[in-house]
């Protein structure tokens, strides 16, 4: 775990922990209720990967932009996206953040600066670059961040986006969550062993860094440097963090039994849980008490309960809604 964490403000540390915990509890609540068949859309849970969303978004204000892809719940929440609107969206309700048209794979919260997430791999990368570009043209001082899985770096549009971001020295930060798999496909069938994303991206003249995606402090610190770089006008950054998705690619279950990865590998990563490990440290540092954790869990659980109630009790969009918003006026 990050070495410099001793010098960090304890309140900040707790905030990071609790924010991770909140994402975890939301995702687990979704997993638990998914079998009720009321959330009728694909969901890609981020359990195990919470640290990256939190460590990165800790440096952003609502003014800054974030975009994401299919596995976006954590990013949306970390950026301050409205939980109720997210759950309502997953339930297909008119109170959802996209009025029910998008489901889990299409989250948005403009008030929070979360510009949107969509599930075509790589699809939002150039759009985030465009948001940074538009923002730069308008003379604003926002940062844009785009989260992506490591498979997205295999799409050509990733390289194209990196090149343009570098050319225009855009304040955009590419955050890659390398969880070793694309659906059930390991890295070995997609990239040669010699491939090195940092070297590639550096070749475009871009600031890069990488680290342990389960260590929120390390992520926080690396993002701090990247954000500093971007806010100074020095251009984009690419951050890659290793991590692991605990549950199945899409859906609420575990799937270590089906053969594409081993139970051992999973357990190994589970031991490195970004939340419990960090909790341990904070307790050892005497920054955190059991009671605080308990109370926070209670508070978050209540919030989640309320948000589910909101989602479940919200109405579905009326039929005529179907025809609205094809065009903007």
């Amino acid at each position: 775990m990050g070495k410099c964490n001793n010098v960090m403000n304890p309140d900040l540390k707790k905030k990071l922990l609790f924010n991770m915990l909140r994402i975890r509890l939301v995702e687990e609540a979704i997993a638990e209720r998914y079998s009720e068949k009321k959330m009728r859309c694909p969901v890609h849970l981020c359990i195990g990967q919470e640290a990256i969303a939190i460590g990165v978004c800790a440096h952003l204000s609502t003014k800054d932009y974030v975009m994401s892809a299919h596995r976006s719940h954590g990013h949306y929440l970390a950026k301050g996206g409205d939980l109720k609107a997210m759950l309502a969206e997953i339930y297909g309700k008119v109170t959802g953040c996209s009025l029910g048209r998008g489901g889990s794979m299409h989250l948005v919260d403009l008030d929070a600066g979360f510009l949107g997430a969509t599930p075509i791999v790589g699809g939002t990368i150039p759009i985030a670059v465009g948001a940074a570009f538009g923002s730069q043209m308008k003379g604003e001082s926002r940062i844009s961040v785009v989260f992506m899985g490591e498979a997205a770096t295999e799409e050509g549009v990733f390289s194209e986006s990196i090149n343009f971001a570098s050319l225009k020295k855009l304040p955009v930060i590419f955050v890659c969550e390398n969880n070793l798999y694309s659906v059930y496909s390991p890295l070995s069938v997609r990239q040669s062993a010699e491939r090195n994303n940092s070297a590639i991206v550096k070749g475009y003249g871009i600031y890069t860094d990488k680290g342990d995606g389960n260590d929120v402090i390390e992520i926080y610190q690396k993002m701090e440097n990247a954000v500093g770089h971007a806010r100074q006008g020095l251009g984009p950054a690419y951050l890659e963090f290793d991590t692991y998705r605990w549950r199945e690619h899409c859906g609420p279950n575990y799937d270590n039994n089906i053969g594409y990865r081993s139970e051992e590998e999973y357990l190994d990563w589970r031991k490195r849980c970004p939340i419990t490990c960090f909790e341990e440290i904070l307790k050892q540092e005497k920054v955190l008490s059991d009671l605080e954790v308990k109370e926070t869990v209670k508070k978050i659980t209540a919030e989640i309960e309320g948000a589910f109630n909101f989602a479940v009790s919200s109405p579905f969009p009326p039929e005529k809604d179907l025809y609205h918003h094809l065009y903007a006026y």
């Binding site: 998914y34 068949k37 009728r40 859309c41 694909p42 969901v43 297909g92 309700k93 008119v94 959802g96 996209s98 029910g100 048209r101 998008g102 489901g103 889990s104 794979m105 299409h106 969509t118 599930p119 075509i120 791999v121 790589g122 699809g123 498979a151 997205a152 295999e154 799409e155 050509g156 549009v157 694309s182 659906v183 059930y184 496909s185 069938v189 997609r190 990239q191 899409c250 859906g251 089906i258 053969g259 594409y260 579905f316 969009p317 009326p318 039929e319 809604d321 179907l322 025809y323 094809l326």
Partner: protein, 353 residues
């Protein structure tokens, strides 16, 4: 002889038998060798044919389409799969500018025998980027062949034909057909590309449809028959080259045409079928040809909206009835029941994908 298997198994069998008979056939796509095996359509192939011929790939659809093309030019016969049709959009340049034109633009010197399998998503909130039906786009590109099998029998026979064909073939499956079953001979056989099929004979109206919409049309035809309207259901099977003759023959017989196309309205393939019929069989038309399509909208995710988005049996019935100047009926009146939610095809489908 009368073996019944699923559409998924039919595809699997066609693939396995084609690979056994021709060492140049290989299949690649995201997840092809994974434990889910493209909804089961590639399960067991890896064990039978090895990792080289049953291969996963990087999430680089554009280059991988080019790779398929290049390998086809030098003698291989790749099958490229996409778990959703929507993912092909990143690779359209390779398909339209290269695969479709290569044979023609180089004066017939080379050919590009590739099959691209696309699965149209529907239901369980697949939403705007996971349930597009873009058959019309492909059908508009000279040099491509476009097939949309409806029965397991055709799924197998058309896939074998597609693999043996020396041209790029876009093979479109509908996710909601995967679990239907039908009689499928065990031996390898072909169904010719470019031939429609009358799946139900009738004298009063031609309902021309493709893929999953044939199923809906057949159900509608059953109900219509009870009210004395005998619809002929024509399964187009291949959109390009289109079997115009069968359309014309049927319309000449029935004098009426309803096209049911699972795709958006404007510039959809339904228009082509209507134009073909009016162009060539105008004198036989008793009433104006009509079409049932999806609205000109992206697919919404919420079941509440998706259920309105997708036309269903009752819409087909009433479109036909209005062509006979009969008043519309309700599902209740006709006794049409939905024993499961409208956003799943059958009980086996429980999401999330």
């Amino acid at each position: 002889m009368e073996r019944e298997i699923s559409y998924v198994k039919a595809i699997l069998e066609a693939t396995a038998q084609s690979m056994a008979e021709d060492a140049s056939v290989y299949i690649m796509g995201l997840g092809v060798p994974d434990p889910k095996g493209i909804f089961g359509t590639t399960l067991g192939l890896k064990e039978q044919f090895g990792n080289q011929r049953i291969m996963d790939m990087p999430v680089s659809e554009s280059a991988m389409t080019g790779v398929a093309i290049g390998s086809a030019m030098v003698g291989m016969r790749p099958i490229l799969t996409h778990q959703r049709l929507d993912f092909i959009l990143v690779s359209l340049d390779q398909i339209i500018n290269n695969a479709a034109k290569w044979h023609y633009m180089f004066g017939g010197k080379m050919s590009v025998p590739i099959v691209i399998r696309l699965i149209v998503g529907r239901g369980w909130g697949q939403g705007p980027q996971h349930s597009q039906s873009l058959q019309s786009l492909f059908a508009h590109i000279p040099g491509l062949k476009v097939v949309m099998p409806f029965t397991p029998y055709d799924a197998k026979g058309l896939l074998v034909s597609a693999i043996r064909d020396n041209n790029p073939v876009i093979y479109i499956e509908h996710r909601w057909l995967h679990n239907i079953t039908g009689i499928v001979p065990e031996k390898i056989y072909t169904v010719p590309l470019g031939k429609a099929r009358v799946v139900k004979e009738g004298k009063d109206i031609t309902i021309a449809a493709s893929s999953y919409m044939v199923l809906e049309s057949m159900k509608a035809a059953d109900y219509l028959g009870k009210d004395g309207i005998f619809a002929e259901v024509l399964d187009l099977r291949t959109l390009q080259p289109l079997d115009r003759e069968s359309i014309i023959n049927s319309v000449e017989k029935t004098g009426r045409l309803l096209v049911v196309d699972g795709a958006c309205h404007t510039a959809g393939f339904a228009a082509e079928v209507m134009a073909t019929a009016t162009e060539k069989a105008f004198g036989h038309l008793k009433v104006s040809p009509q079409r049932i399509t999806y609205p000109d909208l992206p697919t919404p995710t919420s079941p509440a909206l998706a259920n309105v988005y997708y036309p269903r049996v009752i819409n087909i019935i009433n479109a036909v009835r209005s062509m006979f100047r009969l008043p519309g009926r309700t599902e209740d009146e006709l006794g049409i029941k939905h024993d499961q939610p409208l956003d799943v095809p059958d009980k086996s489908f429980t999401g999330p994908f």
